[in-house]
C-alpha cells in the first residue's frame, strides 16, 4: 500500500552516513546486499526493540535505543561463541520522528558496531505508529569450531555467569520511580554484549546462553535443552548490594535483560577456564552445577529460605541443605 517518498531516501542517506562503508561486494542501496561466501559456519539472530515494550522515549535517548537494539543481537552472537560480521537494520519510524533523533539512533548503533567490528550491510525504513528497530545480525565461527549451543550441557558441568545479575531490572525500577541516572540505569539502557568472553568460552564450555529473561527462566532453557537438572548456590550469585537491598535475591533471579552469559563448563576444564578468564580480565562467578535431572528440575542450595519467582513452573525449591 505504501510508496517511498523523496523524504524517505533522504532519511536513509542520513542514517547510513553514520556508518563506515561496508567492505562487501554490494552494500546498502541495491535490492540485496551481496556478501562473499563465509569461511566458517554462520550464526544468525534477529531481535527487535519496540517502543513502550523495550524502551520509553522519555527515558532512553536515541543513542541509547540504537545501542540497545544492536547490543541485544550481539549478545546472542556472544552466546554462540561467534565473531560478529554483518547486520541489517529494519526501522519503523513514527511520521513525526525527528531527523536529529534518527541521527542519534544511528550514532548509538554505529559506535557499538565499530567497537565489535560488525558491518551494516543493508536495511529498510517503514513508517509506523510506534518506533521499533528490528535487527538481524550474523556472526562467524572459526572454520571447524563447533557452536556453543544450549544443548551441550552434561550432568556435573559447572555453571558460571558473567558480570552481575539484576542490575538492569533495578535500573528499570529506578526509571519507573523517576530517577534518571545511576549505574543500574546505565545497565538497563546500555547492555554490554559479552563477545570476547563468548569467544574465549567456546574453547572450554559445553553449553551457553545469554540472560535476557532472568537467570531462573534462562537456566531452565539451558537445562531442558541439555536434558539436565541444575543445582544453584544462591549464596554465590553475583548480586550487588544495591540490587540485593531493592529487589532481593528473588528479584535478581527473575530480573530480565542482564545480557550476561550463562556457561556450563565440564569439571575437567574449569581450572583452565578460570585461569583464561583471569588473564583476559573477564569477570565470571561459579554459581552451581548441572545435575542428572529430571530435565529442567532446578534445586536451590545456600541455606536461606527463598521465595522463588512465581510463574516459572520449571523452577522448584526443594528446600535448603543437600
Amino acid at each position: 500500500m505504501s510508496q517511498k517518498r523523496a523524504g524517505e531516501f533522504a532519511l536513509i542517506d542520513l542514517f547510513l552516513s553514520q556508518f563506515p562503508r561496508a567492505r562487501v561486494p554490494v552494500g546498502p542501496g541495491d535490492d540485496c546486499a551481496v556478501l562473499a561466501p563465509s569461511r566458517g559456519a554462520q550464526c544468525i539472530t534477529t531481535d527487535a526493540v519496540v517502543e513502550d515494550v523495550h524502551f520509553k522515549r522519555a527515558w532512553f535517548s536515541p543513542e541509547d535505543i540504537g545501542h540497545k537494539a544492536l547490543a541485544v543481537n550481539l549478545s546472542d552472537l556472544a552466546a554462540m561463541g561467534a565473531l560478529p560480521r554483518w547486520f541489517v537494520c529494519a526501522l519503523a519510524l513514527p511520521r513525526d520522528f525527528p531527523r536529529r533523533a534518527l541521527l542519534g539512533l544511528a550514532r548509538g548503533m554505529s559506535a557499538l558496531a565499530r567497537e565489535h567490528g560488525i558491518a551494516l550491510v543493508g536495511g529498510n525504513f517503514s513508517s509506523a505508529r510506534e518506533l521499533s528497530v528490528t535487527l538481524t545480525a550474523a556472526g562467524e565461527l572459526p572454520p571447524g569450531s563447533p557452536p556453543l549451543t544450549r544443548a551441550g550441557g552434561r550432568p556435573g558441568d559447572v555453571l558460571y555467569v558473567s558480570g552481575t545479575l539484576g542490575d538492569a531490572r533495578l535500573g528499570l525500577a529506578q526509571l519507573q520511580a523517576g530517577r534518571r541516572r545511576s549505574p543500574a540505569i546505565l545497565r538497563q539502557k546500555r547492555p554490554v554484549p559479552r563477545i570476547a568472553l563468548g569467544r574465549l568460552a567456546s574453547r572450554f564450555a559445553s553449553a551457553a546462553l545469554d540472560l535476557s529473561d532472568g537467570l531462573a527462566q534462562d537456566l531452565g532453557h539451558l537445562c531442558r535443552a541439555s536434558g539436565t537438572g541444575a543445582e544453584l548456590d544462591v549464596e554465590r550469585l553475583p548480586v550487588s548490594r544495591a540490587v540485593r537491598a531493592s529487589l532481593g535475591l528473588e528479584g535478581a533471579l527473575a530480573g530480565g535483560e542482564d545480557y550476561e552469559l550463562l556457561l556450563a563448563v565440564p569439571p575437567g576444564r574449569t581450572s583452565a577456564f578460570e585461569r583464561a578468564c583471569l588473564r583476559a580480565e573477564e569477570s565470571i562467578t561459579r554459581i552451581g552445577r548441572l545435575t542428572p535431572g529430571p530435565a529442567g528440575h532446578m534445586r536451590v542450595t545456600g541455606g536461606r529460605a527463598l521465595r522463588l519467582p512465581a510463574g516459572f513452573d520449571h523452577f522448584q525449591q526443594d528446600g535448603g541443605a543437600d
Copy 2:
C-alpha cells in the same frame, strides 16, 4: 523492559509448527541459528510489512499478510538472480492478536516458503500496538556467478519488465472503494516473486531491480545506479485494459507494489534472452532502452501526451517523437 512469558513460548511453538524443520546445524530455539558456510556469495535483504501502512487487517487475511511479508523479500532475492536459502522472521504482535490469526499468518508464509524452498531458521516475537512482520531473507548465487545489481546497465541495453504493471495499485483502489475480490486485489494481496525469471535473467541481463515503488521511480533508481538515462515507449507498457481504464498509463507508471522485475539486457543478448523466456514461459515485455544520459534522465516516446506522475523529479517529459 519486557520479559518472556509462558504464553509467548506457546505462540512461538504454534508458529513454528507450520514450517518444516530446517535442515541446518542449529535451527530455531537457540540464541542463534547456525548455518553451514555457503558455497556461493550470499544475497541478504530485509523488508517489513506494517499494519495500516502495507496492509489493513480488515482487507487482508492472516494468510495474505504472511504471504506478502515473505513475497516482498523473495522479490528482492529474485532481482539479484539469487536462489532463496533461508530467512528469519521477527513478529510484533498486538496483545489481542488471536491464536487462529497467528496460525493463518504462519500458513500463508509457510506455503510460499515451501514453493521456493526457503527455510525458516529463526525468529523473534515481541508485543506491539500494531502488527508488523519483519523478515530477513538470504539467497545464494551459484559459485562464480556475479549478482544482478542495479548498477550494471549500459547505454543501448534493452529494457524489459515482467508481467503487467499497475494491477496491485488498482487492487488497492478497489479495496478502498469497498470491493473485496478481483484479480487486481489478488495482485495487491498476493504478489508473486519472480524467482525463476531472476535466475534465468542472471545469464543475460546487465542490471535488474524489482518494482516496488512504481516503474517511473524504480527506473530512475536503475538509471542513476548505472549512470545512464532511459527512453521508455509508453505504448509498449504491459498494462491491462482494467488498469488503463481506472488509473491511466500515468497511474500504472506510478503504481507501487508490482513486484515485477525490470531488466536491462545488452542488445547482443536480447534474442537469446527472449527465446529463453519463451521456453520457460516467463512473460516479459520490451519497453525501451537505456540511453547515454545524463544519468537518471528519462524520456518518454510513444506519441500520446502523458501527464507524468508528480513528485518524481528525475522523470522529465521531452514530448513525443524521436
